[in-house]
């Protein structure tokens, strides 16, 4: 199959890569761009380990053709930290034991990032529903939920004080 040159906007950078049109985004990220943080856990979109954000929305990169996502901003786990400063979610997962084997962690964090961007104070039910497409076999999810709660707490502490006009 003939290769073509495509431009992907990933983690704030433009990456140009030559790929066959049938290559899936997950493989291009992992094999061509060395962004191996996105994981393959299944072959049928059941596990969510390959989740990336497309214009801020979580999507499974194992279901997506790389050529079709040249106009959108792609965020992978490698783009979540701000330089060496971890995102509150990353800190939460580290501190509360949300990452045991760590294989589902990138997908979990990206999915949670999307949720908290829309809804900074989710109920337990909202949190459970948001994360229900990301499977984990280690944690029973209890410490993952605690990790997201911890991130919410950290974000609250970091938020600048509002100055209200009198």
């Amino acid at each position: 199959m003939k290769k073509e040159l495509i431009r992907l906007h990933i983690n704030g950078q433009v990456r140009v890569v030559e790929v066959e049109p049938n290559r899936i985004l997950l493989d291009v990220l992992r094999q061509d761009l060395e962004l191996t943080g996105s994981k393959r856990g299944c072959d049928d979109s059941s596990c969510g380990a390959c989740t990336v954000l497309i214009d801020g929305e979580p999507q499974m990169s194992c279901l997506m053709l790389a050529v079709s996502y040249q106009d959108q901003e792609i965020t992978t786990i490698e783009g979540v930290a701000d330089g060496s400063a971890l995102d509150p979610l990353q800190r939460g997962f580290a501190v509360e034991g949300g990452a045991q084997c760590g294989y589902c962690t990138p997908g979990m964090i990206l999915t949670a990032k999307h949720l908290l961007a829309r809804n900074p104070n989710p109920t337990d039910q909202e949190l459970n529903e948001a994360l229900s497409g990301n499977l984990c076999r280690c944690t029973g999810y209890v410490q993952i939920l605690a990790s997201v709660r911890k991130a919410i707490e950290l974000m609250r502490d970091m938020r600048p004080l509002e100055v209200r006009p009198r």
């Binding site: 992992r30 580290a94 990452a99 084997c101 294989y103 280690c138 944690t139 209890v142």
Partner: protein
Amino acid sequence: MSPSSTIRPNSGSIIGARIPMVDSVDKVTGAGKYADDLALPGMLVGKILHSPHAHARIRSIDSSAAERLPGVFAAATGREAPVKYGILPVGHDETIFALDKARYIGDNVAGVAAESEAIADQALRLIRVDYEILPGYFDPEESMLAEENLIHEDRPHNIEKDYHHHFGDVEAGFAAADYIRNDRFECAEVTHAALEPHSTLARFDADGALTVWSSTQVPYYLMKTLAATLQIPESKVRVIKPLVGGGFGGKSEVIPLELAAAVLARKAGRPVKITYSREEVFYAHRGRPRQIVELKTGVTREGKLTAVEARIVQDGGAFCGYGVVTILYSGQLLNAMYDIPSVKFDGYRVLTNKPACGAMRGHGTVNTRFAFEQQLNMIAAVLGIDPVEIRRRNLLQAPCTTVNGLRVLSYGLPECIDKVAEQSKWKEKYGKQRFGKGIGIAGSHYVSGAANPIIRAQIPHTTVNLSIDASGTVTVFTGASEIGQGSDTMQVQIVAGELGIPVERVKIVAADTARTPIDLGSYSSRVTFMAGNAALDAARNARQLVLAAAAKKSATPIDGLTFDEAVRLAISPNETLTATGTYSPPASAQGGKFKGAGVGPSPAYSYSAQVAEVTVDTETGEVHVDRITAAHDCGKAINPVNVEGQVIGSVWMGLGQAVQEEMVWEGGRLMNPGLLEYRSASTLESPPIDPIIVESMDPEGPFGAKEAGEGSLAATIPAVAHAIYDAVGVWINTLPITPEKVLKALEEKKKT
């Protein structure tokens, strides 16, 4: 005064501290590398051809067309490496690729290495295999009667191994019983389904040295098996374990792709990586076997156990794997939980034409424990004894040795029972809630490593080396395998705690057979107890060496130094001090002398008690688990976050087996080889789980610690089954407890 006592003891604050795992930043940033994340220049994609038949003689294989396909660098069949192997010395019955017969759907028949996945797939389709289909065996109770077409010719009646144990006087025990029960229990086959599919990258250097990066729990055994099957010296084989995305036992023996990658790399002259598809992971399996338990228990009127007799049949699949150990655990660990004066056990590990079973979290104990605890709850119901109370009446008087020779020192079960009963408000709820709501209790236990190694070699079970430089930085070299359970963090905490230095000053190099000393692997929950003890021993030795060197170099007598002060005196900038520590279980923990006595003995046992609360929908039969309260005696929690994580994870995996998970077979074909079809629970099916840490301070554990990663799994299943009984009055004795089974039982109950 001994030299070590002149260093100020550490405050101990790091032991028991809730610090993040030492590799957590790698995991939350995506920077950490798992086997499939690795790539080498010129690397090829390896693929395996699997048998489409459950039992078939291979008349011939022709891979020449595949080899001629442009882009294919190697094809290999059974003749390439015919040396038999297996994780147990008594079970060397596998070859890398099938030699004469395919023994299950999915059996490995040939392999190819090609430039791309597409070419490799195409090459597999060009391999011609001439099969002569043989009758298959899929049910263990039928397979045991087989006279011909045996799965392995040297295993009459397809029985891999049978054991017949008799401890104490069972006849007298039953004669003394006021009440005797017989029940049959059946547990479906389940599998680990770790989220990371198995992956192996193999490279041969020009000088014939082999390096393998693999998703393994047992780098040392893998190194030995690679050397044996490829017939190269062990000194030429290096196994490196990168991050592992979950094991649960599924990576605790050598998996065919690990050897296939190496064989193909040798033939191709290029690095080869094989990563299983999810379907291949299901067929690679090595999970918990289907098990049938016929259990007979006798008790006095007061509920005191007098005798237990178990007949256990396990459906082992086509190869031995860990099977001999699995069947032995299923009998041996009837003991060491409660005080049982006499025990009879007949165990049969049976071969069938399905993927081999193996070790899975709670190895061998889980299904037997379900049967035993369920029957104990049935007995309590008949005798009108509170199920919490019947357990209290049958406690061991530790320290003690059981009738089958298991030494129990620390025993936190009584406290576990008390804690869960109190926290769950047992007394206010049991038998007192509305129809459809129920509460149940059960217990479980597990080994903290096997006291007898798989390989009967006179080596320590673990060795840990430390190197200390003049800056006071300590590097831990350990063979122990971090698989997400916190192995690295545990050792760093122990070394930092013993030396009284911050964890940030302790680095760890782990699980690389060329650079780290021997550790037998991450299985049978051995790491905290064994690698932890070796790390502690190494740290104590390091302290002594540092102090002795400091004393030699100091003009004035030294006393009361911190570790750092001693290091400044002892180690000059161009020096490195090294120390080593080991662990071998004491002879007193190694069990009896009878056939099969080697499996079951452990230097320490963990204990768990759990209360499950459920709501049963009597219209649909659906069981909704509302909450699990789980108390686990881990001796001492080196890191409570990680202990809680292990306990919760075990409970959750037990819940899966209790109500959702099952490998569904049609003959030799797996009908649900996907994570959704296998019904791995999402957040929406996962209840709150409240862990309670009980610290019994084991006298031989490092800082008192024992295992935390497996022992809680088994109690969950009978606790849920018991809660269902409390809710709607039916006992379900087959797993998983599906809505169909609950409805059927409710209908039958209505009839009577």
